[in-house]
Subunit: 140 residues, 3 copies
């Protein structure tokens, strides 16, 4: 079994940001030499998501607005007990659960086995510092 | 390592439909000959989900109604900027994130290693044409 | 390819409970001898989740309250048709979809390849009896 492990570091100067990981993951699949297998891509932070959807800026704005409705930012501990710890990111821990921690993608014939519009993104909900995603590839 | 890859095509004449993939995935696990491994089942469309839950029609109706509350259908671009692109399916991209893109299931002793009520479904939120899910099996 | 399969049984006397699986999964990764691979941890019940987030009791209370807002407990069949079957757990099938069924985690150098605060939890939304999660490890 072949395997490849890589941390992808990125800058997320804003609190909420969506960053494409598509080209980097495609490159790592090639580098791994795996022809048939699986690739796991996950956020290494618990206020962030890795998800697959459309590379369309309007949709990414929609996601940010919708997540703000489902789990509004509120630094007080009245809405999020988590903020009693001195954090102000209780909302981000909730947004991440809606969007998911990770994706698992098939590798077939040495390539990501994707439908027509699938693209991999990192979604950060408590940024303003360097963050990272993990890529793990296994297969033959 | 053994592997098997298969696209499952289906008709989804309605906009919102939930289709069982259980029998087909069980058949592919047998066909693969894998005794110990993992199977990935994912939607190949970004307005659709693959999820595991109960095979109970009332629950499936409940999901559709609940998702309509969380992310209502609205073809205008006022709610979903995504619909400025000429699409009317902004809602479906949100519904898919709640229900998830994919499932990963253990294969043990040549069978899906499931609890008592687990069943695999494809959930389409912008149907009215042929759609597909991907099955990728790896293991020994 | 090495593999290990284990069911983790637990008591969940309350209807809603969050239980750490972290130490048990770490122990199974060691026991498996897998140095490079993947571990799948999934709920074997369709009213429960396995998720990764912070080991912080305030946050766990926040999740319970938030899920109650998104999918309130209501034993009547007026809100959840599923409860026409004689069940009263329609809400739990919805809460589980928000939090997810499973996680897939990389194993690197014989250990869970985690960011600084990642911890694995079982979240039960219709407990009051013994429940179980499945751990499946594959790799070299």
């Amino acid at each position: 079994m072949r395997h490849l492990t890589r941390e992808l570091w990125m800058n997320t100067p804003g609190r909420r940001q969506i960053v494409s990981l598509q080209a980097e993951v495609e490159g790592l699949v090639r580098e791994s030499g795996v022809q048939e297998g699986l690739v796991l891509v996950n956020a290494m932070h618990i206020t962030a998501s890795v998800f697959i959807n459309d590379d369309e800026p309007g949709l990414h704005q929609d996601y940010k607005r919708w997540l703000e409705q489902l789990a509004p930012y509120d630094p007080s501990p009245s809405r999020y007990q988590h903020n009693r710890t001195g954090e102000d990111n209780g909302d981000a821990h909730h947004k991440r659960q809606v969007m998911g921690r990770e994706v698992v993608v098939a590798i077939t014939g040495g390539q990501l086995d994707f439908g027509p519009w699938e693209q991999i993104f990192y979604g950060e909900f408590d940024g303003r510092r360097r963050k990272r995603a993990l890529v793990k590839i296994i297969g033959d």
